[in-house]
């Protein structure tokens, strides 16, 4: 329970069903010194923990706070810094789900004798399959592919069939303490939106070398220098603004070359990709090896899945889109769907 309205309503729904419910909040990073901008803006701050505690008190269920700062640091924040320093665009929410929420937290729930663990995610689990949440604006199934098929049986998402609007109305009716807490917009460990500064701080602590994050050249596809960027970790494939390049026509980031610390820009058409190489692919459905599967593939949060052919071989996969897609960022997740059902997903290694 983050202290936000979603997990609190999820808990309330389980209590309503007559289940024995235990609330648990993870302290993921030291938020004591971070400025707060409105209720519910970030998780893990003392105020958020307090909201979760109050919600549990109202529901009459026990509440515990567990410390997962070290694991979160290593599995999520350090990975975030390493990925950016290597010229990729990480997906920390999916990492957190895999390495923190549906790993150690679930283990703890089992150790406490829980039959299953529930969260406030907007996704559904039906007949052993992971499905999109019914609220298209809130659906979080894209971030959940890495939780693993075996885990699905031990997890419940009570809000999967709910819209955010209904969740808020439910919380308001019951005078829940966080009914009007704002939705979290940013990454929880980057509350001021300056992800570059977080990467720089961690990279320094990890000894990744200031060099890799120093400013570098912006070049075009012919290698001509067009300007200077403020560090490859501040750049994402498909980005148009803030490149420090003046050009009569729009220029987009096509590639990041970490060794040379160069960023290659070009026209919108040059962003188009047909084929993705996907590493560390997790199957959430029974998929035959090396067999083409017609499906749709999503490569970003809040971006529609596009028709494609998926071919899985072992833990690797290739995705061939029916029509070219734009702005494929290595390091992001590629998640395959059959309608609402998640077939599986992995991490984009490269795109052609």
């Amino acid at each position: 329970m983050s202290g936000g309205v979603d997990s609190s309503v999820a808990a309330a729904l389980l209590v309503e069903q007559g289940l024995e419910v235990v609330g648990m909040t993870m302290r993921l990073y030291d938020a004591r010194d971070q400025p707060r901008r409105g209720r519910g803006g970030t998780c893990c701050s003392p105020a958020e923990v307090d909201l979760a505690q109050r919600a549990c008190e109202q529901l009459g269920i026990p509440h515990y706070v567990v410390d997962e700062q070290q694991r979160f640091q290593e599995a999520v924040i350090d990975d975030f810094a390493r990925e950016y320093a290597a010229g990729r665009t990480p997906n920390p929410c999916a990492r957190c789900n895999e390495h923190v929420k549906f790993g150690p937290l679930l283990t703890r729930a089992r150790a406490l004798g829980a039959t299953y663990m529930a969260t406030g995610h907007y996704a559904r689990i039906e007949d052993g399959a992971l499905l999109r949440g019914v609220d298209p604006a809130k659906d979080q199934s894209y971030f959940l592919f890495a939780m693993g098929k075996d885990t699905l049986a031990d997890v419940r998402f009570p809000l999967g069939g709910w819209t955010k609007e209904r969740v808020r109305a439910y919380a308001q009716e019951r005078h829940m303490p966080n009914w009007d807490a704002p939705d979290s917009q940013e990454l929880c460990f980057v509350p001021d939106g300056d992800h570059g500064a977080v990467v720089e701080r961690r990279a320094e602590a990890l000894g990744l070398g200031a060099d890799s994050l120093a400013e570098g050249e912006v070049i075009d596809e012919e290698g001509r220098s067009l300007g200077t960027h403020k560090g490859i970790h501040r750049v994402t494939v498909g980005q148009r603004r803030g490149l420090g390049v003046s050009s009569p026509r729009p220029r987009y980031v096509l590639r990041v070359l970490p060794e040379a610390r160069q960023v290659v820009v070009g026209d919108a058409e040059a962003l188009a990709r047909r084929v993705l190489d996907v590493a560390d692919f997790r199957r959430l459905d029974d998929l035959d090896d090396d067999t083409p599967i017609q499906c749709s593939v999503q490569i970003r949060h809040r971006s529609p899945a596009q028709p494609a052919t998926l071919r899985v071989v072992g833990s690797r996969a290739t995705v061939e889109f029916d029509a070219p897609v734009r702005a494929v960022a290595p390091g992001q997740a590629a998640v395959a769907f059959a309608g609402d059902r998640v077939l599986g997903g992995g991490w984009i290694e490269s795109a052609r």
Binding site: D30, P62, F102, T107, L112, G148
Partner: protein, 395 residues
Amino acid sequence: MIYLDNNATTSLDPRVAASIRNYLEGTSAPCNPSSVHAAGRQARGAFERARRIVAEALGAEPLGLTFTGSGTESINLALVGRCRAARKKGAPCGLLTTRMEHAAVLESAGLLESEGHEVHWLDVDEHGAVTPEAAVKVLTAHENIGVVSIGMVNSELGNLCDIKRLCRVLKGVREDVVVHTDAVQALGKTPLHFGDLGVDMMSVTAHKVHGPVGIAALVHARGLELDPVLRGGSQERGRRPGTPSVMLAEAFAVAASLAAEEVEERRAHTQDLRRRLVALVEAHDGVVLGSASLQVGNTVSARFPGCEGATLAMALDLEGACVSTGSACSSGVAKASATMRAIGLSDLEGQQVIRISLGKDNTAEELERFDVILGGVLAQMRSSVRTELKTGGAA
């Protein structure tokens, strides 16, 4: 509920509760002992009566007893207040202590160090015991040590330190060294007589002996100069400003008197229960930490290999048994506590520790029920760990 966390706090004794009830029902008169008028005089009378009773229970003089708001505050006043006062006089103002003390001591040491006071650390042996020889060595080597602070009973292990002997030895090296003992966990568990111990300062608190939370005392030599940690008034002879609570002082008086009267009885009772507790913990493959020969008689810190202490404590809580953990998560990264590290536990081992602490109200029947609960919870935890290993799930 089976309450087995008496080192954290204790239940309110009905006789103490009666004193508070009596106060609340007896008077609604204004009650500020510092006021010169009739109402103030009446409050002063009751307050000083309570001071005399607490002092007598502790083997101290009333003029050498300063009421504070908590054990933590007493310790801060003792260490910070004494070292600062000594420094102003140009006297030795460094501190000598161990890494096994309560955070109030450790963090006061940190504050003093940041102010330029010397802080020296005394090593403990593998059982967590302080040896007089080691203390003498450090004290001899550092002339600037003005205050020595050694806990009488460690809150996590229940180790009892022979403060009387240690104090005699230290004073033999330097007569003017000021010795403080944190006796917060000792009161009510072992006979406690300030005069007999020979120390210069002693911290105690009411809520560890079935008194209310919110009142404590620093016992000290009469006339010992202490710089007040708080500013704002001349109460408690300038040592602790702030309007004192007559109600809490009276309740403390009852609790301290009962602790002094009943200490042998309470000790015999918890020692008997502790023997049963050790046997049942060991029967569940728990490793009891610390040395039996040092044990004050109510505390069992045990490690259950493969079981995280925090989770075990939660699981026990869900079954109605209250214990605490031996790790300090508040610092950020979950580490073994200072005490557990001091006796040589790794961070991983330290995270597997739970502390079970007995009190006068616990019964053998409660321990029988705890035995069943612990067995069930451990079986559940151990099988969940095995499931994880089998399915190759996240560690």
